[in-house]
């Protein structure tokens, strides 16, 4: 999956562009914004969107757009860390499980099955009860939700390719198991993992915002997309734009990530080509 291929596929390109724009916005947006972060302005409480406040203001007079960008930083950071952790653990255990087989494989797969047997959000919720609330714990919860997915994908694909010619060649040449796993096998099975990664980050944001929305995730005053939406929910009837526009932002960001994931999937699936006769 080379860069050129990504640029040619419309879906992947659209997804990548949207995601890129979004990333740039949340990185430099709050810096460029004329409104101070966390700046209260009790004269301008709950104002609808206008030229000066593109998303309006919230119950404390803060500029919602700036807050959303800041919150997006936090949400994205949490989701990416959680998913990255899940990837590191999942890929490592998956590689060894798929390669060695035996009791380790059995153990990991049983663990994965168990984790899969709980609804994702329930798992996250449960963990928050056990660990307590806060940014770090939300990331850990996301890691727990996604670890089984990466572990299983990695393990299954590793199992399929472990007897391929190049792997056997590496073995014969005396390469250590770790080298074989990470230098030979991993690059060849990375496609579905990457597809899953972009989808995972997207849904990780959904989990985070869900937890924060019901108050069991990120705690205010730390902004996150879920916290802002929880705010917006409190005065939804009076000022629906806070919740609405924040959600629109989330949707657009997730759209980008999902399109990217879709495009990557299309690119890596040879069966999706047209047939002649």
């Amino acid at each position: 999956m080379k860069l050129a291929a990504i640029l040619k596929n419309r879906t992947a390109f659209a997804g990548a562009s949207i995601t890129l724009v979004f990333l740039v916005a949340i990185l430099i947006g709050p810096v460029l914004s004329p409104w101070a972060s966390g700046g209260f302005d009790f004269q301008n409480v709950l104002k609808p969107p206008s030229w000066s406040h593109s998303f309006g203001t919230d119950s404390l007079g803060r500029d919602v757009a700036t807050r959303v960008l800041e919150g997006a930083r936090v949400s994205l950071a949490i989701s990416v860390s959680g998913v990255s952790l899940a990837m590191v653990l999942g890929i490592t255990t998956g590689l060894f499980a798929g390669y060695w087989g035996g009791w380790f494989d059995l153990f990991i797969m049983r663990l994965v099955d168990l984790l899969f047997s709980f609804p994702a959000f329930v798992l996250a919720l449960f963990l928050m009860v056990v660990l307590g609330f806060g940014v770090v714990n939300v990331a850990l919860a996301i890691m727990l939700v996604y670890y089984p997915i990466f572990a299983r994908i990695t393990r299954n694909t590793t199992e399929i390719v472990r007897n391929d010619a190049y792997v056997q060649a590496a073995r014969v040449m005396g390469q250590s198991t770790t080298r074989i796993l990470f230098r030979e096998i991993l690059p060849n099975i990375s496609a579905p993992i990457l597809v899953q990664a972009s989808v995972a980050v997207a849904f990780g944001i959904v989990i985070e915002s869900g937890l924060s929305f019901i108050g069991l995730g990120v705690q205010p005053p730390t902004p996150s997309l879920g916290v802002i939406m929880a705010d917006g929910q409190e005065y939804f009837r009076r000022a629906p734009w806070v919740l609405t526009l924040t959600g629109v932002t989330v949707t657009v960001a997730l759209l980008g990530l999902n399109l990217l994931g879709d495009g990557l999937r299309d690119l890596s699936d040879p069966r999706l080509r047209e047939r002649v006769s």
Binding site: P119, V122, A124, T251, L255, N258
Partner: protein, 318 residues
């Protein structure tokens, strides 16, 4: 088509084993939670004697394994213990029994909507693949997965409840009171949960249908002069059903997750909202009971999906 008894029993055994391991893990992990149940109930300034009395009453001074086995035994008899704080000293089982049907109703309602919508969208997208209809259906699908479900719920409330006044935005009439009332008050929550699922199901169905449309036996059927509708029904749809059902089974995991928040948003008295309330109130016994209930639901659904797939797929049941 029949399934061998062997298959059935092995699946059942597997599910039971996972259930037992699951309850153990839930219990042990819950024990690691910060906070002392005694203090939750009696308050932070409880005397050591009161705490000791509390602990012995609830069996909390027993060895951990013993506590677990007692709890497990209780669950087997559908006794989940007593609530700490939410419904002080009341049977958790009664709480659950009261709330479970609501969750079920919303859940099944959501799945039904998702299946109906996805069958339509997926089929349209497959039959008219490459055209603007396909593009539109796919766009709707991608959008469906990109929206947070609780946000969609509020958008629906904004539009259909506050705006048009067609549906209530809060409260749920249980089926036992009125079926029509349940359908009416449950429509928005079910729709909010169903949307992302319908999106995923449509995509899966479309992919599956398109794959099967390219299969040889479809062309062979055409060569025998069978009409297109027959071919679609029996050679394409029938063959696409299995992966579709498998995905439905896999998505249950996310459906139930959505139920938790949606129940909160719409004020529905279900297991999801129970778990959230218990989480806030530090009612550990209720939380672990809810976790176990969810576990049981997921395992049962997986089991049923497995059986249905085995029934429909001749290669599996022989």
């Amino acid at each position: 088509m029949t399934i061998s008894l062997n298959y059935f029993l092995s699946r059942l055994l597997g599910a039971c084993m996972t259930m037992i391991i699951g309850t153990f893990v839930v219990f042990i992990v819950m024990k690691a939670a910060p906070g002392d149940p005694a203090l939750v109930v009696l308050g932070d300034f409880a005397t050591p004697e009161a705490v000791a009395r509390f602990n012995s009453e609830y069996g909390l001074d027993q060895p951990v394994l013993g506590q677990y086995l007692d709890w497990l035994k209780g669950i087997a008899q559908l006794d989940f213990g007593t609530s700490l704080s939410i419904a002080s000293r009341q049977d958790i089982s009664r709480l659950i029994l009261f709330r479970l049907p609501n969750t079920f109703t919303i859940g099944i309602y959501a799945i039904a909507i998702a299946i109906l919508v996805s069958l339509t969208l997926g089929t349209l997208a497959a039959i008219y693949r490459g055209s603007s209809i396909d593009a539109a259906a796919t766009s709707v699908s991608v959008l469906g997965v990109s929206m947070p479900d609780f946000w969609l719920a509020y958008m629906l409330i904004l539009g259909l409840s506050i705006g048009l006044g067609w549906f209530p935005s809060y409260g749920f009439i249980p089926v036992s009171t009125s079926f029509l009332g349940a359908m009416h008050s449950g429509f928005l929550p079910a729709l909010a949960i169903a949307a992302p699922m319908a999106a995923v199901f449509s995509r899966t169905l479309r992919t599956s249908l398109v794959e099967n449309l390219n299969r040889d036996h479809v062309l062979v059927a055409k060569s025998f002069g069978h009409p297109a509708s027959f071919i679609f029904l029996h050679h394409v749809l029938r063959n696409s059903i299995i992966p579709y059902i498998v995905v439905i089974g896999l998505q249950i995991r996310y459906l139930l997750g959505g139920v938790v928040i949606i129940e909160r948003v719409f004020g529905i008295n279900g297991i999801g909202s129970l778990m959230v309330e218990a989480a806030f109130a530090r009612d550990y016994f209720v939380v672990q009971a809810c976790a176990v209930v969810f576990l049981a639901i997921v395992l049962s659904v997986n089991f049923i999906v497995d059986l249905v797939c085995a029934l429909l797929d001749p290669k599996r049941s022989r």
